[in-house]
């Protein structure tokens, strides 16, 4: 079952030997408390030192950037930029879903990801340095997701983690041909398919679909289940329990109704964008669900998700801001689009916080990042500077 995989190139060559220091009036490492008058030193695309200006020496010759506020580069825990393009022209820039059959776990995000997509640069200008993108909700199993940096480069160069999760959908979004026609049939098909893979005898012809699902059964890869209604959330949890597989809840707009069940199942929530349209099976979403999840102590992160029309993508910075406006404490809101997201993705040793040894992914702002009047004034991805918004 050896799998061909790309080895992500960690450091853009340009940044390899450059030393950059960022001075911020308020520095949020997220892994620790805010540092007033903080400094981050970056060497070779990696963070070398973090601390108060009084304690961290800026190396001679370093390029020094100053800003009011610096945070870790933002991590979008569930996006579709790169596979779903700005133009929204099917057959041209819309590779986010394949509707020819209900289950296609062998499809890989990195085979469709276009790192030159303008929406990637757009979200980067608002501080987003990592996106977990790929196949969107809408099919019983739509394909594999992957994590990418938003730096310039080929798909291979910006790929951080291939086969991050396998995207599945329960409930109304995945009903109707070629998907099953009822919830019971959705569950029956998933059960039969997972059972077949589990019981398959070794050997025979290589089968990409079975290999992908075998990794789910082995606990190597989570099943990322989009479920909005409480009953569908519970179906996802039941599937996880029955097969002993890892579940990530996606969307989960009615999570506020089944907090205890989610907590008991120890699954993370990749929460819908706060400003997601309250329609379809997400019609009863609440603006304060992030706050409720936070208070319940559940691991969660706020996503940009998928948009089929205008706006073609959402921006996690704005979505976390709206969560903060609806009761999620500032630090928790920041965490939900940085370290919280990185922890869910299993990448907190690389991204999501400002600590020595972490990737030099940093967002700079001229004030409170969530305030309407604040602008993102610059971004580092792997130590390489990119322009902020506007």
């Amino acid at each position: 079952m050896k799998r061909l995989s790309w080895i992500p190139l960690l450091l853009p060559a340009l940044a390899a030997c450059q030393v950059v220091a960022i001075r911020a009036e308020r520095l949020y490492p997220v892994s620790g408390p805010m540092i007033a008058n903080g400094v981050v030193v970056v060497r070779g695309g990696v963070i070398e030192a973090v601390g108060p200006a009084a304690e961290v020496t800026i190396p001679e010759g370093a390029q020094v950037l100053t800003c009011k506020v610096a945070t870790p580069g933002l991590v979008d825990v569930r996006a579709s930029v790169g596979v779903s393009g700005m133009l929204n022209v099917p057959g041209h820039d819309q590779d986010q879903i394949e509707r020819s059959s209900a289950m296609q776990p062998e499809l890989r995000a990195e085979d469709a990801y276009n790192p030159s997509e303008p929406l990637i640069r757009y979200v980067r200008s608002f501080g987003v340095t990592t996106v977990h993108s790929g196949h969107i909700p809408g099919m019983l199993i739509s394909g594999q997701t992957a994590v990418f940096k938003t730096s310039d480069g080929t798909a291979r160069e910006v790929l951080l983690k291939a086969g991050t999760a396998i995207s599945a959908t329960l409930g109304p979004d995945a009903l109707g041909s070629p998907n099953p026609g009822t919830r019971a049939k959705q569950m029956a098909l998933l059960r039969q398919t997972l059972t077949d893979v589990r019981d398959a005898k070794p050997g025979g012809t290589a089968n990409l679909r079975n290999e992908a699902l075998a990794r789910v059964l082995a606990g190597e890869v989570p099943l990322l289940v989009t479920a909005h209604k409480a009953q569908d959330i519970l179906l996802a949890l039941r599937l996880g329990e029955e097969f002993g597989i890892r579940i990530w809840l996606d969307g989960a707009s009615e999570a506020y109704l089944v907090l205890n069940e989610i907590k008991a199942a120890k699954v993370p929530v990749l929460l819908h964008p706060t400003m997601f349209r309250p329609d379809g099976d997400a019609r009863e979403l609440r603006l304060d669900t992030a706050k409720v999840l936070h208070e319940a102590g559940l691991p969660f992160a706020i996503q940009s998700g998928f948009e089929g029309y205008v706006p073609k993508t959402r921006v996690v910075l704005f979505e976390a801001a709206m969560a903060a406006a609806n009761g999620l404490p500032f630090e928790a809101a920041l965490r939900s689009i940085t370290l919280g997201a990185a922890e869910i993705l299993g990448l907190s040793d690389r991204i999501g916080s400002l600590q020595p040894g972490r990737d030099a992914d940093i967002a700079m702002f001229d004030g409170d990042p969530f305030e309407y009047q604040t602008r993102c004034v610059g971004v580092l991805v792997g130590g390489k500077p990119y322009p902020g918004e506007g």
Partner: protein
């Protein structure tokens, strides 16, 4: 002529109420740090600083630490499920949004949680002319549409005419196949309306010359006479310019809606004296006409001298986040004063209701909102919304809060109308 309205509101609110101690943002006129606003009979009786006399026996409501500003005016809403023309043709001025709105739609309560007090409810953009729009106030407890109307001095319902160009009204059954055909159809239609209008005028001296009554043409005559403002969906710069040409040729009043590429032709729009009602979304694209979406649009238009307002296009954007549009425009250079106007007095002027709404001024309708901080901070929330002196939303009331935050029972049975995504 206002007597029936005044009597109706007096009956509901016999006494004057004085709102005291808030920072008042009248929009027209300087801010008052610690003000008094007296409301009586559904109207603003007086507004000023602490020296403003409070009528004897008035109820006093203390709003220390709060901010009060005019109720917000949204020129483009699809709340209540408005329909217009059907598949039978591309131009249907006889179809009226007011005949299809469900006044009990919970969306009307949701919009009040965002501070909206006047809406232009419209059909979608799948037609060159999809019908008559309607100006409403989401008054509390309304079950029948006539109680939502904003009536003119003669007691008539007020509203505009919805038009669209660009890609949305092109293609499909009984629709034009390209922009040239679309523009030709619209011009032909206006020429027909001019003829109808001439027949009506001739009939004044010779009744035998009266044309057969045509409800669509009657609405068109209102458009030609400037009594019914055209609300024109348009995105691309060349399409915007075509609207200006049409206005010049036929002389109607028009507000440009969405205006994605308006900043590219800002001076032409300013020269034509045509206002823009902008819809802001958080990212470009989603359709080819929207690839140049940019938060700088409002500032650039205002700089060129265009009167700028915002709209929600609800459900394209949610009415609860209406203030955010102006705040994001400020982020990209729209002056604060203009930002305040873009949500209130400017849209009120665009629909010619500024004698009643859009600012806090003695004699105007007592439509106002109470905020717990500066309007342009993300952390500020609309605490209360008043229409004609009556509280229609209070975040402190769990029954109202449900509409502000969402959740069980907040949506009713309606579905979101994505105006511009649909063929009609």
């Amino acid at each position: 002529m206002w007597l029936p309205l005044i009597l109706a509101t007096l009956a509901l609110q016999p006494d004057a109420t004085a709102y005291v101690g808030a920072r008042l943002i009248p929009v027209e006129g300087p801010e008052i740090a610690d003000g008094v606003m007296v409301v009586s009979g559904g109207r603003i009786a007086a507004i000023g600083d602490r020296s403003t006399p409070i009528p004897q026996g008035a109820k006093v409501v203390t709003l220390a630490g709060k901010v009060v500003m005019p109720g917000l005016v949204d020129l483009h809403s699809h709340v209540g499920g408005p329909g217009g023309g059907d598949q039978s043709g591309a131009i249907q001025p006889d179809a009226r949004a007011m005949d299809s709105i469900n006044p009990a739609d919970p969306g009307f309560r949701r919009v009040t949680s965002g501070g909206l007090t006047t809406l232009n409810v419209m059909p979608g953009s799948g037609h060159l002319m999809s019908g008559q729009t309607i100006y409403v106030k989401p008054r509390k407890g309304v079950r029948i549409l006539k109680d939502m109307l904003v009536r003119d001095g003669n007691g008539w319902a007020t509203g505009g005419m919805k038009m669209a160009n660009g890609t949305n009204p092109i293609g499909g059954a009984n629709r034009p196949g390209n922009r040239s055909r679309a523009h030709a159809m619209v011009r032909q239609h206006f020429l027909k309306a001019l003829e109808y209008k001439a027949q009506l005028e001739a009939a004044k001296s010779d009744p035998t010359k009266a044309p057969k009554r045509d409800l669509g043409m009657e609405a068109m005559v209102e458009v030609l006479e400037g009594k019914r403002v055209v609300h024109h969906h348009t995105h691309r710069a060349d399409d915007i310019v075509k609207v200006l040409q049409l206005k010049e040729e036929f002389g109607f009043k028009v507000v440009l809606h969405h205006c994605t590429e308006a900043r590219f032709v800002a001076s032409e729009i300013a020269k034509a004296g045509v206002p823009c009602s902008l819809t802001y979304v958080d990212a470009p694209g989603g359709k080819l006409e929207a690839v140049n979406v940019d938060f700088s649009n409002a500032a650039e238009l205002a700089r060129a001298g265009v009167s700028v307002g915002f709209n929600t296009d609800d459900g394209i954007t949610d009415s609860r986040f209406f203030i955010r549009n102006a705040a994001m425009a400020m982020r990209y250079g729209l002056p604060r004063d203009e930002a305040l106007r873009s949500l209130t007095i400017n849209p009120a002027k665009h629909i010619e209701l500024d004698h009643r709404i859009g600012s806090l001024k003695a004699g105007k309708d007592a439509d106002f909102i109470v905020l717990d901080g500066d309007p342009f901070s993300v952390y500020t929330r609309v605490q209360q919304t008043y229409i004609e002196g009556l509280k229609v939303f209070d975040f402190g009331d769990p029954a109202d809060r449900k509409f502000a935050l969402g959740g069980e029972g907040s949506r009713g049975n309606g579905t979101i109308h994505l105006c511009c995504a649909e063929a009609d």
